[in-house]
Structures are given as C-alpha cells and as structure tokens.
Assembly symmetry: C2
Homo-oligomer: 341 residues x 2
C-alpha cells in the first residue's frame, strides 16, 4: 500500500509530498454525477455502501491522489442523533425543528454507529478491501455540528448559535457534550471498521472570536481528540477561516492541522510550530487559473510546506463543482513532480 | 463640536476612546424602521436627503456615539455607473446583467457624483448643519464593489469574480480601474460636501488569499487612498475577515485600519504596528450577552487598544438587526466610562 500520506501525517520522511483534495468525490467529476443519479440522490448515495465505496474510489483512479476519504455527509450522525434531515436541490440541507431548548437537547440520543449508521461501517469495510491508498474517516467537529443543529439550515451570521451560546450557555454546553460523545463514538467506529486516519471538519468555527473559540468550541474538540488518540490513527483537524485561531488550534492535540487559503502557509506554520504537520492550502478557485500559474502556486506552497513538521498538500477548502477535471489531474501530478526528493 | 473621533483617527491624545458602530443607522432601531416605512423602502430612503439625514442622526441621539456615518447603500455608485439595481425583501440586492465581458465593462461610466447622485451631496450638507459630531462619508472599496458587479447578487464563494480574475485578468483590471476612478471621485465629492472622514468598506476582500489580495485588490485600493489623501481628511480602511491580510493591509496608506472580530485586537495591532490607528472589534453578536459580560469584553478590547497608535471602538462588523437597543446604549456608555483618562 502507498502509505506516504500516513507517514507525512506522523512527520516522517517521505519520497514526495502526498496530496488529496477535500470533497474530491464530488460533482465536478462526471463519474460521480453518474453514480449519484443511479443512486437516486445524494442522501441515498451516502447510505448505499456499494455506491458510496465506488465514488470514494473514483478520485484515486482519476486523479491519482494519495488518500481516499469516506464518502458521506457531515449531517449523517446528526440525523442518527434524532433530527429529521432533508436535502433540497436549491436550499441545501435542512434540519427540521432546530435545537434551541433544553428539552430539545434532552430528546437527542448518542447513537450507536453500528446500529444506526451501519452503511458507514459497511462502506469502510468494502473500501479497505479495494483501496491501495489509506482511507480517511471523517466527522464534523462538535462546534460545527452544533451550528447546523441550532440553525437548522445555512446561515450567514450564526445568530441563533451565538444567541444560545451567549444567553443559555448551560443548554449550549449540554448540547456540545452530547455531540462530542457522538463524534467520538462515530469516529471510533469508523476506525474499528478500517479507517486509517480521521479528519474533524470545523467548517464554521472560524466565525468565533478567539475568546469564544476557547470558551465554546475548543474544550469539546480537545476532549474528543484526546479520546480518539487512544485509537492510534493520525487525526487531522481542519478549521475553515482558521487564521485568527491558530494560536489556540495548535494546542488541539491532533497530528495534522488543516489550513484554509486565507492565511499564508508560511505564516500559519510559524504559528503552529513543529509539533503538528500541516495540510493545505491552495484556494479551490485557483484551479480556474491557467496550468502554468497553478504550477507556480503549487511550487510556492510546497516550498512553504518544507518548514512544517510534515506537509500534506490539499486545497484550502472543498473543491468547487465547476472545476475542470483536467486542472485537478494536473494539480496532483504537479504536486508529485515538484516535491520529489 | 466633539472632535474626539477625528483626533483618535490621527493618533492624537483623547480624553476617552471614541465609539461608533458600523450600520448604526439600521433596522435594530425602531426610530429607523418608522422613517424607512415613511420613505417607502430602503432605496427611496437613501435617495431622500431629509430622511437619510434623519436616520443618520438617530444613533447620535439615541446611543451617544462620537461619529455619524452617512446613511446610504454601498451599491449607490454602482447604480450610477450604469447598472440596474433592485432590492428584494428576501434576496437582498440584485444587480441585473452582471459584468463578465469587456463590452460590459466598456459600457460602464465613471459617474459625476453631483450630477448623478445629488442626494448624497444634499444629505451631507443637511447633516453638517445639524450634527455635533463628525460625519463619516463612505464607499465600498474597489474589490468589494467589483464582487457585487460581477456576481450580480450575494455569493458564498465568489466563483464568478475569481473566474474573471484568473481567466481574464485584463478585463478584471479594466473593471477595477473604472471602479477605482469612481470611488475616488465619489468620496472626494463627499468630502467637498462636508464629510470629515471617509471609510472604505472592503467587505469581501477577506475571501482572497494574501497573494491574490496583493495582485487583484491592493494596487487599486492603494491608488484610491493615495488620491484621497490629498483631500486632507482621515481615511479608514476596513476589511472584513482581515486576519490573513493584515501584513499587506497595513501598507494601504490609510490613517485607520478596521479590524473584524475574528482576530484578537492585540495580535492585529502587533501586525499593524504604530503607523496606523485601529478601529474595532467586538463581535456584533456579543451584544446578545448579559450586560456585565459585554462590559468585560469592552474592558479587554479597550486595554488592547491602548497598544495602538490610536483606537476607535467599534463592532467587528455591522450591527445585527435583532440586537436589543438597550444593550447598544449600554455598550457606548461602557466604552466611554471605562476609557476615561
């Protein structure tokens, strides 16, 4: 097996910089579109192990990336906690009856993954038989899952989340504790099923001031990471819009810190120090540049990555659905070519 | 006149830290709601000098802030450049026929403010007779105006803007040059009419990587600031989500750098240095906290502000429409009380 990704996570020497791409199994790939249609929609695709495994494998074959990431949705464990999840084509995900009261929190369960999300376990088992690169399991981080549960749908300002945090910190904390238990149990089950690394996505933690991050997000995240470390696989923690939080994020206990594109990678590494590897950080929309300019940016990011304990090349956020596939193929090729030692 | 705000902009000694609030004339104020209804809608309110002046004055009376900011919309000069602007209650502003081609850029005009936006000049003249605090004029910064013109409506990822930037940099640059001329002429006219300071809002520049900020936003912003300096009034430059860009932003030539809430103010001041004053940076949603906790945060921000060349207290972004007015009143009072020298 190509274990270069896992070695880079651990800060070990590697023959070249490994690369994978957030949301690499996605709508920019015609192969993915076809399987999604066959499945009869996004949520059905997530819940059909054979098809979910197929789309997980596609980017490994098409792009030549060094890791696969479980195809699933960030809200799958939230549905298993007892919320009613729906996807609409125009509005995105909707969670009915958003959580705003203590009784709503009390009604939530901490689900058993094998019982209530068996398709996740089954997808991982299929994949481990098939893949020649490491498989990354994933979950939303506690704060980010809380925002979805409290807002119920997309938000520009997260006013409901912050109102609950600020006006009912006791209820917010009960909710976070239940989510944290869910995240730990969900990722542990993924690891037991065969995931060789896990990534915690904190997509919305960047809307918090550093003070609020320390009060309302970090304690739960750190306790989840501490529990998960016992499983013995590398842990990646990605906060979108992380710039102002890196001084705190570096203390999270994860092996790898994901960095979005808004922060210069050299500056980020200076803040993170030598205890964690880094992952990132090309602007996903830079894939609309001409190939030679993409290559220039790849070289610069690779050069900056040399200063870290370890570097895994990635985009600074999920790939955009209108990205031309040939640009992605040449990105992966360029990362490998320019980083060869 | 209370000129404490202007003195803080220039880094001079002040008896207490001045405070104003982004979007302080806004929907959280019942007095504002009433006048907006009387005007028959938001855009009509912007274009009726007597009423625009009235809502500009309201927060000075109700809150006791140390500066007023012209009530207008960021898209007013864009409409004057020749685009068709519409406001819908649910979708926000829509600009018809978004700019994506050279011929679309060629059709845009650089408007004369006195001719095509006389209501702005008239509002300022009324206000200068009435106000006992300084009046801030404002405009969107070139990059942010470009995003609206290219996207045509709100965007999550600014894919059309970045696609134009990356695939047709020549067209993008022609557009930016025309916008920059407009911004300079528009703000100069505001200053001639009586504005005693101006703020450039770069609401969306934070979606750029530092490299792209330097290539696609900074040159135009700096040239606008350099031109505007000749007018002799303090210039404030605010980038929302500025954390990763502060090393570049500090070179913009403005007197004051606005800082959003995602970055710790002490860290921001370390990056900005002693050449510019700072403005900020309480999370607007922190106004949902209990009063004593708001006061704790005010004290902390004031303490950090002491390290800057000058400090103007403000929120880190526009005030939220659901904010309780009494919290805002006590915020302003707390800033004055805790900063008294």
């Amino acid at each position: 097996m190509n274990d270069i990704f896992l070695r880079a996570c651990r800060g070990e020497e590697v023959p070249y910089t490994p690369v994978w791409i957030m949301r690499q199994a996605g709508r920019y790939l015609p192969e993915y579109q076809r399987v999604r249609e066959e499945a009869g929609g996004f949520l059905k695709l997530c819940k059909t192990p054979e098809l979910a495994a197929e789309v997980t494998t596609q980017p490994v074959d098409v792009l030549g990336v060094d890791a696969a990431i479980l195809f699933s949705d960030i809200l799958i464990p939230v549905e298993a906690m007892g919320m009613h999840l729906e996807f609409s084509e125009d509005k995105g995900p909707v969670l009915h009856d958003p959580i705003r009261t203590k009784s709503a929190v009390d009604r939530l369960v901490v689900p058993d993954t094998e019982d209530s999300m068996p398709f996740v376990v089954d997808t991982i088992k299929i994949l481990r038989k098939r893949l020649a690169v490491p498989l990354i399991g994933f979950s939303g981080a506690p704060f980010t899952l809380a925002t979805y549960m409290i807002e119920g749908k997309g938000s520009k300002d997260f006013v409901n989340t912050k109102r609950l945090m600020f006006q009912n910190p006791g209820i917010f904390s009960l909710l976070m504790e239940k989510i944290t238990m869910t995240v730990v149990s969900y990722l542990s089950a993924q690891i037991r099923a065969g995931a060789q690394a896990v990534q915690l996505f904190d997509t919305w933690a960047g809307v918090l001031s550093p003070l609020d991050y320390r009060n309302f997000a970090q304690p739960y995240l750190r306790s989840a990471v501490a529990e998960l470390r016992k499983e013995g696989v590398p842990i990646i923690y990605f906060v979108n819009d992380c710039g102002g939080l890196l001084g705190d994020i570096k203390k999270c206990g994860a092996d790898v810190i994901g960095v979005d594109w808004r922060t210069d990678l050299r500056d980020a590494i200076k803040k993170i120090g030598k205890k964690c590897a880094v992952q990132g950080n090309l602007d996903p929309l830079a894939l609309f540049l001409p190939k030679d300019e993409i290559e220039d940016r790849v070289k610069e990011i690779l050069w900056k990555g040399e200063f870290a304990r370890g570097h895994i090349f990635n985009l600074g956020h999920g790939i955009h659905k209108e990205t031309p596939v040939d640009k992605v193929v040449s990105l992966v090729e360029a990362v490998h070519r320019f980083s060869e030692r």
